[in-house]
Structure formats: C-alpha cells, structure tokens
C-alpha cells in the first residue's frame, strides 16, 4: 500500500523504504531484499516474500556478494543496512562484484552524516566520496522521505548499480508537495528559486538550507536552494546555469566531509568548465572525527549548522572578499 503523506509532515524514510519494497515485490517478482541484520523496517517485505528476503546476519561482505550473484541471474537485489558499514566493509564487493559487471544492485542505507549519536564508528561521513569513486555507480542522497520511495520505484528500470544515502530515517520532513518538482535521477531540484546566490545541498541538510534561505529572504537576499540529490552523474548543466543566474555565488552545504562529497563534485565542474565564480564556500564536516552529540549540535559544533549557513550566505553576497581565501584550507 502506497504511503500517504502531507507536505511538511514528519515521516519515517525507513518505513517508506519498507512499504515501497513491499509494494514493488508484487510487481517485480525478481526483486530481492537483503540485509546484514538491519531488517527492522523490512518486515512487511520479509513476511510477504520470505523466499526473496535474505538476512545474512552480521556479514556485510557476503550480503553484497550474494546480491551480485542474484543480479547475475536476472534479479534486482536491494541491500539495506547501515551505510558506515556497507560503504566500507563491503566496498570491494560493491566495486568488483557489482560495479565492474554493472549489475542492478541497489544499496540503500541510513546513518549518512553526523546523525544518530553513535560516535565516529557509526557515522558515514566519507561514503559519498567513496561511492562517487566507483565507475558505473549512480550516487544519491535523499532528504525527503517520500522521494525515497519515488527513487526506488524509478530505479527498477536501471541497468546498473545505485546508492541511496539517508540520514537516520526515523523522522524526516516531507519537503516537496506531490508533483511540485520533476524528480529524476541525474537532475538537481531547484527546491527554492533565487537569484543572488545558489546554495547547493543534498539529503538531510536540504531542510536546513531552506530555513537558511528563508532567513536571508528577510534581509532581502534571494537564495536559490538546489537539492543536488544525485551526486553522480552530476548535473553539470544546472551548475553552469546557477553560476550564470546567481552571479557566480555558490555555497555548498552537506552532512559529509567538506572534501570528497558534493562540494568536490561541484569543484570538479568549476575547474572543468572554467566557471568564473565570485564566491565559493563549502560547509561540511572538517577533518576531524566528530564524537558524540545530537545531529544539530554536531552540525553547529563543526561549523555547518543553520547559523553557519546563514553566515556563509551573507558572506557570499557581501562585499567581494573571497571567504576563506586567506588561509589554505586544511585539506
């Protein structure tokens, strides 16, 4: 049964995954769901299609290996788990068994970013960089819980692998009204239009970006918020357009290391296309292991919370000093 929801409401992305997979299990008899003991929200699928549900226990490597073996034989396997472990413990399996033969395996998981208060072993903060490194991999990071279902549905036709990153996924704000935006893998979403500066973001920080834009609007600054939920392939055309339409002012905000994720993807485009930006600033996790604390506290502590975002946007549209241009960043 499809999830019903209201704009602005809080919804669990995890339960969206569970119900979407259960729904697709019906139409796609070759859909399999696998998990390394992180199956709490997969119960509906598990109980309806027990013969296509595989819980291997604590064993991420074989979980991905089995998924690849299933895919070789014409199946569509979804591996669901916690991203810090899937993206690293099983990395070679993802690369060699899934990406090399370009199989339609989907990796969907939670704990992307400094979320969940599990400490540094439990935060996936480099995962997007790792995944973008893999040839054939499509890489997404999704904040809106309803969109998660939409992307999973779209992905049923994909011939290659897909990575979907979520934050905790227990309570997420529905960001987009139905039909409000075209949701297509590979295309960024202009979540809010604006003309003075573009704020690029993805996943859990989209909501924060919209709040920051709202604050800037009170100062009369028009911020464009782009939900760049697909990091690979990156929407080069949209980036170029934003450079032209928002006066070459870019701020990138992400719950990921400031180097290796979206900001670096955009930097690649900036260099490749020779974009002449007026300002470029990245807000993300610095080169530290972040420790304990609630999500928002950690973002504030590490300089990419709401007020830091507002500050960066102000700097971007302020007098033409290049933010952070004096000191080489510790990268």
């Amino acid at each position: 049964m499809p999830v019903t929801f209201t704009f602005g409401e809080m919804l669990s992305a995890r339960s969206v995954i569970g119900s979407t997979l259960a729904e697709l299990g019906e139409t796609h008899p070759n859909l399999w769901v696998l998990t390394p003991d992180i199956g709490a929200t997969l119960v509906e699928f598990r109980d309806t299609y027990p013969e296509r549900f595989v819980d291997v226990g604590l064993a991420e490597q074989v979980c991905v290996g089995i998924a690849a073996g299933l895919a070789y034989d014409g199946n569509i396997p979804v591996v669901s788990g916690m991203l810090p472990f899937l993206s690293m413990r099983a990395l070679e399996q993802i690369r060699t068994d899934v990406c090399y033969p370009n199989l339609p395996v989907k990796i969907i998981g939670t704990h992307g970013g400094l979320v969940g208060n599990g400490g540094s072993t439990h935060y996936a903060v480099e995962d997007l960089g790792l995944m973008c490194s893999l040839t054939n991999m499509t890489v997404t990071s999704i904040g809106d819980p309803v969109m998660v279902g939409e992307i999973i549905r779209q992905s049923m036709d994909m011939t290659g692998p897909l990575y979907i990153r979520l934050a905790v996924g227990k309570k997420d704000k529905v960001l987009y009204e139905e039909g409000q935006h075209e949701i297509r893998i590979g295309k960024g979403i202009v979540a809010r239009d604006g003309s003075d500066v573009t704020l690029f973001t993805h996943g859990t920080t989209v909501s924060q970006a919209l709040d920051a834009a709202e604050q800037l609007a009170e100062d009369g600054v028009s911020v464009r918020v782009v939900d760049m939920f697909t990091l690979k392939p990156i929407d080069v055309e949209l980036i170029e357009r934003c450079a032209a339409e928002t006066d070459g002012r870019f701020v990138v905000l992400e719950d990921h290391l400031a180097y290796g994720g979206l900001a670096s993807r955009i930097a690649d485009v900036v260099a490749d296309r020779g974009l002449r930006l007026t300002s470029f600033e990245r807000l993300g996790i610095p080169q530290v292991y972040a420790g304990f604390g609630e999500d928002e506290q950690l973002r504030d502590k590490h300089g990419y919370g709401l007020s830091a975002t507002v500050g960066a946007l102000r700097r971007a549209v302020g007098p033409a000093t290049r933010a952070g241009a004096d000191e080489p960043a510790a990268i």
């Binding site: 998990t35 003991d37 992180i38 199956g39 709490a40 819980d55 291997v56 226990g57 604590l58 064993a59 991420e60 490597q61 074989v62 810090p84 472990f85 413990r89 208060n117 599990g118 400490g119 540094s120 072993t121 439990h122 292991y289 420790g291 304990f292 604390g293 609630e294 506290q297 950690l298 502590k301």
Partner: protein
C-alpha cells in the same frame, strides 16, 4: 617470565561479585531511566556478569595506572555494550558513575554509545563497528609477546558479531601466531539485532567452529559467577600456545524478565514507568536466584 605485579584491587568472593553484578545492572537501568535516547539494554544486561567477573576479578589492571605496559588489555569488541563497560569500570575506580549518568551521550561527553579511546583514556581502543575487536586484540597480544610481557589481552564479542568474516580471519591469526595470551569471551545470547540465532543464521555447531580454528574452547553459563570465576582462574598461562575462547551461554536482557529473549529490547529507552517495572523485575530475579542458590547449596550438602 612472570606476570607483572599490578595493584589489581581487592579479591572478591563469588557472592560479592554477584552483588556487584546486581549493582551494575541496577546502575545501568537507572542510567537508562535518566537518558532520553536509546541504550542497547538487551546486550548490556547479557554481559553484566561477564564484565563484573573481568573488571573485579579477572583483569590485572589498575585504575590509577592506566598506561602500565604490564596491564591486561580489555577490548570491548561488541562496542554497543559500552555503557555497561563504563559503569563496570566506574565501579572498579576508573570513572565516576555520576559523571557517566550526567553526561552520557551528550555533546562533548567522553561517554558515548560506543567506546572512544580518543576521548576516554582508560578504554583500550575505539570500537562499535562489529568485527574489529578481535583483530585489534591479536595485534595487542602480539605486541605484548614481543615485549616479553606476560599480560593477557581479553576481548568480548557478541555471538551475532561472530558472523563477520574478520572475526574468523582473526581467529586464524590468533592461532597461527600462537597467542596463548589472547582470550575471547563470546556473549552467546542467541540473539542478533533483528532475529534469534539459528532462525536466519545458523551458528551451530558453534563451539566446534572455534575448535576447528584451533582455539582452546571453554563453555560456561555466562550468568553463573562461580563458573565465570572458575573459567578465568583456569585460563592457560599467557605464554602457552593456544588462544582461549570462553563461550558464555547467556540471555539477552538477563535480569529483567520482560526484556529477556525479547527482540524489542535490543535497544530502547526507559520511561519512568518502565524503569520502575525494570527495577522491580531485577529485584525479583535476584531474589529467585538467591533461593535457587540456597536450594543448590542444600542439595550439595
């Protein structure tokens, strides 16, 4: 080589250790009643006796000399039982229980969901991602060997955790390197996070696995303090050749009836009502243990 002399605290009788384990569980529940987030209560309760036996009896450690090279090393491979270890260590004099309760899980606290050596000296290494502790312990045991220490490196794993391939790589390495100073306790509570063992993953014949990997295998009831102490006292000399695994048959949620063998209590938080119920259940379980012990004692007579 002789084992280094460390101030390893007072010697406790089995009955005293049982009291300490009761106290540990109580303190754990009280913390859960205070902290708003989820705590891995089930897996904490299942290792409370093991951690008590280790920190108050088995490990040669000194809270006032945490860098002593001759100390035994303890690696909490099942890092999600961190809070239970913090409290056990506080009861042994390492940390302050009040500080743990006051700061657990908060910003800049040293006491988080998983042990972080970077923030909390006294724990030997950072764990939390399952399958890492045994390899680390192998490295530490090798190092001690090479330095001529007669210490032990003791680690505690979850049974679900032993599904990780890295555990079997480490099992093979521990045997190949002939590390008699390496000891693994396995919390065989027959539950993973979302399933019971043997339901989705077949672990049996479990002890045979370790035997086939060349380990010295000891099987005990992980809630029987007498058996825990005996197993520890009977450990082969650290300069022997085979690593030892102590497979502890346990119950996830042990001591709080409504949490026992209940998948819902892998992790959770305790509201005021829950806390009261849990404390009452704990006392009831203690009373019934005591009367069991009486019966056993009478029968033994």
């Amino acid at each position: 080589m002789t084992r280094a002399v460390l101030d390893t605290g007072e010697r406790h009788s089995v009955a005293e250790l049982e009291d300490l384990a009761y106290e540990l569980r109580r303190k754990l529940l009280l913390l859960c009643g205070t902290y708003e987030g989820a705590v891995h209560i089930g897996g904490d309760l299942s290792v409370a006796d093991i951690l008590t036996a280790l920190f108050h009896h088995g490990l040669r450690i000194d809270p006032n000399d945490i860098a002593n090279p001759a100390r035994d090393r303890f690696v909490l491979s099942k890092g999600h039982a961190a809070v239970c270890m913090y409290i056990a260590m506080s009861m042994r004099g390492f940390f302050s229980y009040d500080e743990i309760v006051a700061t657990y899980g908060q910003l800049d606290s040293a006491y988080g969901m998983h042990p972080c050596k970077v923030q909390l000296p006294g724990v030997e290494c950072s764990t939390g991602s399952l399958g890492h502790g045994l390899p680390l312990a192998v490295g530490m045991a090798l190092s001690g060997r090479a330095r001529g220490e007669l210490h032990r490196v003791v680690t505690l794993l979850g049974d679900g955790e032993t599904g990780e391939g890295s555990v079997w790589e480490a099992a093979m390495a521990g045997r190949s390197q002939k590390l008699g100073n390496l000891v693994a306790f396995v919390d065989r509570n027959r539950q993973l996070m979302t399933s019971f063992a043997e339901e989705r993953v077949i672990f049996e014949p479990y002890a045979d696995k370790w035997r086939a990997f060349g380990w010295n295998v000891v099987e005990i009831d992980g809630h029987d303090m007498g058996q825990l102490v005996a197993a520890i006292d009977a450990l082969p000399s650290p300069d022997s050749d085979l690593p030892t695994v102590v497979i502890c048959e346990t119950v996830k949620g042990k001591g709080v009836d409504f949490m026992e063998r209940n998948l819902a209590w892998h992790a959770g938080s305790l509201g005021a009502d829950d806390l009261e119920r849990a404390l009452a259940a704990l006392d009831a379980s203690r009373a019934s243990n005591a009367s069991e012990n009486d019966t056993e004692a009478q029968e033994a007579r």
